[in-house]
Amino acid sequence: MMRIDATNITSPLGLTTAENYAAVKRGETGLKVMDGCLGVSVRFCVGMFTESQRAALQVDGCSWFESLVLHSVQEALSHSSVQASSPRTLLVIGTSTAGIEELGEVPEKDKNFLTPGLAAQKVARRLGFVTTPLVVSNACISGATAQMLAQRLMEAGHYDAAVVCGADVLSSFVLAGFDSFKALSPTVCRPFDLERLGLNIGECAATMVLKNDGQGEGWHIVDGCLNNDAYHVSAPIPSGDGICRTIQKILTPELKDAMACVTAHGTATMFNDQMESKGIANAGLGDIPTTAYKPHFGHTFGASGVVEPIITMCSLDEGLILPVMGFEEIGVSGKIKVCATAESTSKRTFIKTQSGFGSCNGSVIYSRESWPAPARVEVSYETVRQVSITPESLRMDGADAPVEASGATLVSELYKKYLSDGSRFFKMDLFSRLAYIGTGLLAKDSLEGIAPEDIAILLFTVNGSVLADRKHLSTYTHPDEYYPSPSVFINTLPNVVLGEIAMKNTIKGETTLVMLPERDERLKEMIFAATTAATRPAAVLCGWVDCPAEDDFFAELNLLKIKE
């Protein structure tokens, strides 16, 4: 049983879980309207730390992102017997952008810039961890993905404890990007309400210390499910099919009876809330109170899947379901029961839902009661196809294929020669193009007869979307030339390509991007085995894609199929 031994929330509302819960319960918000913010001169309503809070939290020699993670993890560990320094303790960070802003300070040719994996490494060493930290970048479902990854690696026996930290910080990078998406609310957001105007961005780090000790009182993770709806990289599927399937997969009739509430994603964008209401209702949870906390914290991306369940744990410990602040009139068509005023309950089980860019969805069930552990059977897979791409070559199933061009042009050549499917290929950054063409070559004529829900993607990278990150930086940093581009910004989320691949090949299973400090085959194999033991997909597109520069990249991808 994956017990939650200790938690922390570090947000503008407070620096501990207790402070944050008390503020949420009192109906406070960390969101403020600001005319211009971090050099972006647009009116925003954001959840940002004050200057004095920032000064108090900032750690010398660390980026703001790292400082926030350091504080949250350290404070959580101070309430736990878990030792960071044990070789059996893991650190997993869920983030959509990490300390991306720092890139602006780093010369383009410097290969040692702070990738999310290296930032995690730095934080891990400062805290005394001796194991390699893992970073998952699955946009808004990074928090759930990080918890699932930690849970599975512990179940597989690799670790006894895991510290899961979800964190994202406010930066002009993110503000300019979301400004270009026209999805930001100028006032405090109102999830599920008729008058909702969009989302607010917030910064936060939240931590759960997980222990696999099969005993002890307290909250634990019962089960979780992640998937892809293969609909669109930035628009949620109107039917809510993806989130509905994640709930159905883990919800038993007994769990449903025990369920106190749904802690929804509730971003307050037109499309998310509409989609989510349908997903929740269609999964059979429309008669259970639905709550959401974005009016208190804003959308904290990688942190949201950690901070929001922690708040519900605190409220259910007091027998309370907290309302959606600011909610007045239902503005979604899915039949759900939005919690408008605080309700009391004796139930101690709930579900957290989340969906994000890259068409990914995730649900996790938490409980204070004891439930049978989900089945985990290690299954074997065989590699049925292989593709490797370098700036000079293409190898398919062990044989060199003829190529004409080299470098980035080679990737376009491969697309025109082998796929040319009229997709958004030319709108992708090089990292995405590489992953798209590599997986496309593997999947071609190889996935027939397999249900879309039974196919998964598990990609590993070191540098992720760094080229798109640099490009996005160049679109807004000059005040007279402030034209952030939505199609460039979307590529700065490295998991967006998973959505592109899922759409192209009709893949609706779990799709995850793991970022490591350096290439590490042992960790890749370990994560693959633990993930497939929990999810047992019939086929997996798995491997490395890395692209530190236009002329320096590789993809090494395999299609693996389950052995009967």
């Binding site: 270009s180 026209k182 669109h232 930035s234 628009a235 709108k427 034209y483 581009s485 939505p486 199609s487």
Partner: protein, 85 residues
């Protein structure tokens, strides 16, 4: 007007990375979304950026651009009437 239509087409091709496409392949009256060029919601946002960057026109949301972005001719008409640069 002809020059403006040509400029807008080039700006669209450039901003939306419509690889291998030339201005004469874009029909002045063909719908840009759905059929025709087959643009999507992110492209609509990108068109908003083009109007701002090239012509100083600020649209608040894709909804506001719905009529404007019907075809290249519609965009050209709108630009001619509202441009500030």
């Amino acid at each position: 007007m002809e020059q403006l239509v040509e400029d807008i087409k080039l700006q669209i091709i450039d901003a939306l990375n419509l690889e291998d496409m030339t201005p004469d392949q874009i029909d002045n009256d063909a719908p840009l979304f759905g059929e025709g060029l087959g643009l999507d919601s992110i492209d609509a946002l990108e068109l908003i950026v083009i109007l701002d960057k090239c012509y100083g026109i600020k649209l608040k949301s894709p909804a506001e651009g719905k009529e404007v972005f019907k075809s290249v001719n519609c965009i050209a008409d709108y630009v001619q009437k509202h441009r500030t640069k």
